[in-house]
Symmetry: C2
Subunit: 458 residues, 2 copies
C-alpha cells in the first residue's frame, strides 16, 4: 500500500548523520523539527546520539514497529540496509541514494528490486528526493528550509521524475502560498512508478489535482489505462520534457528514459484526458484554476474590463487559445444598459465589455450579475485595473460572490504594483484565481474548458 509512505507513524533514517551538511542530518531534522507526529530513529553504527535521539546500529536493534525507512547510505551499502528493513518487516522504504541505473549500475538496481519483492517491501527511488506530505509532515526533502520552503497544506499533488525540478517547484509553491497535498520524487522507479502514483493519487481524498513532470513513461499502455479512469475523477496535468529531438537527446543523458516521439505522447495524453502544460508555471496555473473553479461547460468566454486596451489583448488571447467570444444574450445587454444609474451611455456593452476607466464595484456587479446568468456564456474573464480611482477594495467582495455561486468559472486578470498585488491576494484567498496578464488568464481558462470537455468523455 502506497499509503504507508505518507501516513507512516514511526520512521527510521538509515545513514543519519550528526554533520548538518549531510543529507542524513537534514532528513532526520525534518522529522524532529516539524509537526510530524510519529517517532524517528536515527540508524548509524558510528552514532551514539544524534539530535538528542538514541542512535541504533541497525533497524533490527529498534524494538518499536517501524513503518517507513529512508535510506541515504552510499550505493554499495544500500542492499544490506534493505535486507535488514525486510527482516524488520518494514513495508515502505525510500532510497534517496544515487549510484544505480542512472550511472549504468543496472545490476545493483535489479538486486534492489529482487530484495524488495522477497520481503514485500514497496520501494520509492533510488536516486530521488523522496516525498513530502503537507498534512502528515512526512518530509524526506534533504534541502534545508531556508533554501527550500515547504508549501502549506492544500490539494495539488505533484509527481516528478526529476528531483531538481521537484525541489525547485516545491520551493516556489511554498513561497507563492500554493497549497500542496503530496509530493513524490520517484527517481529511477525500481518499484513504485509514475503510473502507480497517478492511480494512488486518483484515489487520495486529499488530492484534487495531479501535476506531473516526466521525461518518459515506462509502460505507456498501463499508464493510459490508469489515466483514463483517474482523469474522470480529477484533472491530471503533465509537463512532458523532451519534446524536440534535441530535448530527447538531453533526456537520454539525464534520466536515460526513452522519451519517444512527441506526437505519440500528444496523442496518448489527448486520448486519456491528460492536460498538457508547456512549463512549470503553466502547470501550476492550470492546477490553481482547476482546484478553485468549476470546469467550463463550453468554450464561450465573456470578457469584462475597465480598460479598453486590456479588452483587446484579452480578446486576442482568447481567440489565439482556440476559445470563442460569447455572443451575449439580448437579456444580458438589456439588464446592464437599463441600469442607467450605474452604467453610463459611453460604456461598451458587448463582448469584450468595456465598463470604462471610471467603473466602480457596483458597475462590475451589474455586469457580472448578468453574465453569470447568461446561458450563452461558459466562463468569465474579468479584468480589473486597480490603478483607476473608481475601483475600491469592495471589488473583491463583488467578484468573490459571483465565484461563490459556482455557476461558471471566473478568473481575474490585473497588472500592477503593490496595490494591485494586495487585492489579487485577497481574491486568491477566496479561491478566485488571478493572473498578471490577460494572456495567462486565457491560457488558464483553456484548461477549465479542456477539463469540461474531458469530463464529457470528449
Amino acid at each position: 500500500m502506497i499509503d504507508n509512505f505518507f501516513k507512516a507513524g514511526n520512521v527510521a533514517v538509515i545513514g543519519a548523520s550528526r554533520n548538518p551538511k549531510k543529507i542524513g542530518h537534514v532528513i532526520l531534522r525534518n522529522f524532529t523539527d516539524q509537526k510530524f507526529m510519529g517517532k524517528v530513529f536515527p540508524i548509524n553504527p558510528k552514532g551514539d546520539y544524534i539530535l538528542g535521539r538514541k542512535c541504533y546500529d541497525s533497524v533490527l536493534k529498534v524494538k518499536e514497529k517501524i513503518d517507513l525507512a529512508i535510506i541515504v547510505v552510499p550505493a554499495e551499502l544500500v542492499l544490506a540496509s534493505l535486507e535488514e528493513c525486510g527482516k524488520k518487516k518494514i513495508k515502505a522504504v525510500i532510497i534517496i541514494s544515487g549510484g544505480f541505473s542512472e550511472v549504468g549500475n543496472k545490476d545493483l538496481e535489479e538486486q534492489l528490486r529482487r530484495v524488495g519483492k522477497k520481503y514485500g517491501i514497496r520501494l520509492i527511488g533510488p536516486n530521488c528526493i523522496g516525498i513530502y506530505d503537507a498534512h502528515s509532515r512526512v518530509d524526506t526533502l534533504f534541502l534545508p528550509h531556508y533554501r527550500l520552503e515547504r508549501p502549506r497544506e492544500g490539494s495539488i499533488s505533484f509527481i516528478t521524475q526529476s528531483g531538481a525540478v521537484g525541489s525547485a517547484i516545491m520551493d516556489w509553491a511554498g513561497s507563492r502560498g500554493f497549497g500542496v497535498a503530496k509530493f513524490i520524487s520517484y527517481g529511477n522507479a525500481v518499484d513504485v512508478d509514475e503510473t502507480e502514483l497517478v492511480k494512488f493519487l486518483g484515489d487520495d481524498p486529499a488530492t484534487k489535482v495531479i501535476v506531473m513532470y516526466i521525461e518518459g513513461i515506462k509502460d505507456g499502455r498501463k499508464f493510459m489505462e490508469v489515466a483514463k479512469k483517474v482523469t474522470q475523477k480529477k484533472p491530471v496535468i503533465a509537463i512532458k520534457a523532451g519534446r524536440t529531438s534535441e530535448g530527447i537527446s538531453a533526456v537520454v543523458s539525464h534520466t536515460g528514459s526513452l522519451a519517444g516521439s512527441d506526437e505519440v505522447y500528444t496523442a496518448a495524453f489527448n486520448q486519456c484526458g491528460v492536460i498538457r502544460a508547456y512549463s512549470i508555471e503553466e502547470a501550476f496555473d492550470f492546477a490553481r484554476v482547476l482546484v478553485e473553479q468549476p470546469p467550463a461547460k463550453g468554450d464561450r468566454i465573456a470578457i469584462v474590463t475597465n480598460g479598453g486596451g486590456y479588452g483587446v489583448m484579452a480578446t486576442d488571447a482568447v481567440i489565439e487559445e482556440g476559445l470563442k467570444l460569447a455572443r451575449l444574450s439580448q437579456k444580458t445587454v438589456n439588464m446592464i444598459t437599463h441600469r442607467k444609474d450605474v452604467v453610463p451611455p459611453y460604456a461598451v456593452i458587448k463582448n469584450p465589455m468595456d465598463l470604462i476607466g471610471d467603473a466602480n464595484a457596483e458597475r462590475y456587479q451589474v455586469a457580472l450579475d448578468a453574465l453569470v446568468e447568461d446561458h450563452n456564456v461558459d466562463a468569465i474573464l474579468c479584468i480589473v485595473l486597480m490603478q483607476t480611482v473608481g475601483v475600491e477594495s469592495e471589488i473583491v467582495d463583488v467578484i468573490d460572490e459571483i465565484s461563490d455561486r459556482r455557476k461558471k468559472p471566473i478568473v481575474v486578470s490585473a497588472t500592477g504594483g503593490d496595490y494591485t498585488a494586495l487585492h489579487m491576494k485577497m481574491l486568491e484567498k477566496e479561491d478566485v484565481p488571478t493572473f498578471f496578464t490577460p494572456e495567462k488568464a486565457a491560457i488558464a481558462l483553456k484548461s477549465l474548458v479542456k477539463y469540461g470537455h474531458i469530463l464529457k468523455g470528449k
Copy 2:
C-alpha cells in the same frame, strides 16, 4: 520640439482643482510633491489658492513664461483654453480631457488641430494620460501614487495608445524596480503621433530601448521609414493588439483605429526591424535583456545547469523558439573535463551541460569561462537552482564577471522561493537578466538573437 514636453521649466495645470479626487488636483500635486524643479501654476477661474499656490483665471494672467500646459477641463472648454495657451505663446500642450473623436466628436478634434497649427503649439492627446519623465519628473499621470507606483530612472521608454495599458505597466514597472526613461500616452494623437514619438525617442540619449503598445498605426509608410532608421540605433519592441478578427473589432470599439490585417503588420515590423512582443510581460522581458546585454551574433545557444530536468526543459524551449543548440568546440570540452579537481566524471560536459546537483560556484566558473570564449557559442542560458547546497551566494560574482566581459549575452534562469529571489535580485542589480523559467529565458534570448540580426540589416 517634442523635447519641450519633457524638459519643461514652468508648467500650468488648466483645470486645477482643490478636490483631491479630481484629475486636476492629482496632476497639480505631482508637480508640487515631486522632484520637479520648475514652477507650477494652477489655472481655475473659481480658485483662490490651491495646494498653497496662487490660482489664476487664465494662463494669460501669469506673468512668467510657461513651457508646458496640461488641460483637464471638460471637452467643450478645451478649445478656449488652447486659444489662450496660443496667445501666451506656450509651445507644448497636453490635453488629458476626453470627449473628442473617441466619442464621435471629430469636428471638435479637428478644431483643436487647427488652433494648435495656428499658434505653432505641439499637442499631445486629447483623451490620454500624458507623459512621465523619470529624470525631469514631469508627471501628468493623474492616478495617485499609492495606486500607481512611479518607476525609477532607467533607460526603457514606453509609448502607448491606451492610457489604461500604460498606467498598469508603469505601476508594474515601478513595483518591479524596472527603470524607465520616458513614458507617453498619446491618446487620439491629434498632433504628435506614434511615429514622431519613435523618431524623437530614437534621438533621445536617455532612451536605450523603445517599447510601444499600439492598436493601429496612422501612416504605415511614414512609420516604416522612421522605424527602419531608429532600429539601427536602438531596439524597438511593439505590442500590436488586434491580431485576430475579433480583436480587430474590439479595437474599433476602443480607439476606433483601423487595425488592419495582422499579416500586414507582421510583414511591416519584420521589414523595418521592429521586434514584436505578444504580451506586456514579454515586451518588458525583451526590453530588460536588450538594455542589459549585448545583442547575440548568432543563434547558437549553450545551456548550463545544475539540474538535468531543467537542461531538458531549456533545450526544448530553445529549439521551439527557433534557436539552435551550440556544438561546443573540442577545446571547450577539454578545458572543462581537464579540471578534474572541480568537475567530477559524472558531470555531463556537452550541450546542455549538466554540472550536477552538487555543483558549486567554482564549477560554474570553469564551465562559463570556457563557454564565453567558445567561438561556436553565441549566447549562454545559465540555470542555477539555488535549492541545492553546493551553490553559495558567490555564484552571483561568477556570473556577473562573465557578463561584464560583454563578449556574448548571458541570461540566468532559476525557479524558487525567497532564497532564489534574493540571489536573482542581486544578479539583476548587476545587469544580468534573470527569468523564472527556462522557457521565458529562451524567449528573451531570442530577442537578443533577433536584434543581432536586425543590426546586420537582415
